[in-house]
Symmetry: C2
Subunit: 250 residues, 2 copies
């Protein structure tokens, strides 16, 4: 399969790395407006007019420019997909056949991920294109699923909760214990166990702590310890939500 | 070393399992008010008067009864410790020598944990007792640290953020995607990667998402998607905190 990747940001780089070691992908071309650090053996262009004939054109770019770039592509009736969690497939220009290739994962510049376990969420207007994307997804991942635009947006929102918000809670904890010159490493086994626990227990079963025990003394003491009003607000908001969820009297 | 464990709840059960396979622990006795499901080969009593002579008495019970039970022990000048993150060592009766043996981890009934990586946070009034606890901790864990009561309380508070609150975010996500009949398994690779990422990146470096990008369009859309007011409040509170932390204009 021949593929073109448009853009060379975080998602694009991770995809290229995965496709490079995937059997079934014969040729990769990268398009980017500016020249950047391209891996050896991959063709690269800064001109849309030089795009090769490919089976799939993958736009791995920020959300806002997706409709505009799809409109500017100098060809018609080819399969053009984006990789965004929150952009509807219908925002792609109708002059080409549309699809979505959304890897449900968080990508950072300096942290490699293994694609095998990453769910690849697909959408396409034509059954044949869905099959092409399914094949492409299967080259790099064991988990390929068909998800429509509305479902994908909900998944993306859920991902904000389990990734962005969770990571911010890590950050707050790091700050809190750093005040006492304690090492963040002390919390890492707990962080890992919290994540691994839900492989075998539901989040409902895994819930512990003062909020679910309705341990008022500890909760009041925690609010005193939190000198920062913003952290107090987070503590109150999440505690209240745990208690409502688990049917405790407030 | 001979040890007595007072109480047989979640923490006690996990400790007993760890001590049973630890070299260096010769004898374990369990005390509990009611007869319960005791592992083979361990002596058990419901009477404080039958407690054996041991090197360490570990009270693995809820916070509130800790001072009372420590007062009721029918002996003096032995080493008595509790396992709580939030109870000060000074709450233990002064008739015995006091200490704390706090494993910084979340324990669930049906999920085994490996103690090797769990930080054991110690405190003791006497240097010799600290050494005894250090030896005991080293039998089951590679990470033993001395932590005073104030630091321990801060650690416990931080643990509430990275464990209790994080697990609640998992729960909310599960609920949100279940409305669309989507499988929670789809989010698990992201949950694991979020936790594993901070083994190599700081939470600051690992932060991604609409809040740190100040992507107003996506954030507004997310708030619309969240029909539940409580979840909207969590979204707003955590988004605001991410933006303040990372110096975005609100």
């Amino acid at each position: 399969m021949k593929i073109v990747i448009l853009g060379f940001g975080k998602v694009a780089r991770h995809l290229v790395r995965a496709f490079l070691s995937a059997e079934g992908v014969d040729e990769i071309q990268i398009y980017n407006r500016s020249v950047t650090n391209i891996p050896a053996g991959i063709s690269f262009t800064t001109k849309l007019s030089e795009l090769i004939q490919a089976h799939v054109y993958i736009m791995a770019i920020p959300d806002d420019p997706i409709p505009g770039l799809s409109e500017k592509l100098p060809f018609e009736n080819r399969l053009v997909v984006h990789t965004s969690g929150s952009v509807a497939m219908s925002r792609l220009s109708a002059k080409n056949r549309s699809g979505v290739f959304y890897p449900l994962q968080t990508f950072s510049k300096d942290h490699e991920v293994s694609f095998e376990t990453i769910p690849i969420c697909l959408e396409a207007t034509h059954a044949q294109d869905l099959k092409t994307l399914w094949d492409l997804g299967s080259f790099i991942s064991e988990k390929v699923v068909e998800i429509n635009s509305e479902e994908r947006r909900k998944l993306h929102l859920a991902a904000v909760f389990v990734n962005n918000f969770t990571n911010h809670l890590y950050r707050i904890s790091e700050e809190m214990i750093a005040e006492h010159h304690l090492d963040f490493d002390l919390l890492k086994p707990l962080i890992l166990e919290t994540a691994h626990k839900i492989e075998t227990l539901s989040p409902e079963e895994a819930q512990t702590g003062p909020a679910i025990r309705n341990d008022r003394k500890t909760m009041e003491y925690h609010l005193e310890l939190l000198a920062n009003e913003r952290y107090q607000e987070i503590y109150r908001t999440l505690t209240k939500s745990i208690q409502i969820t688990h049917g405790k009297k407030l």
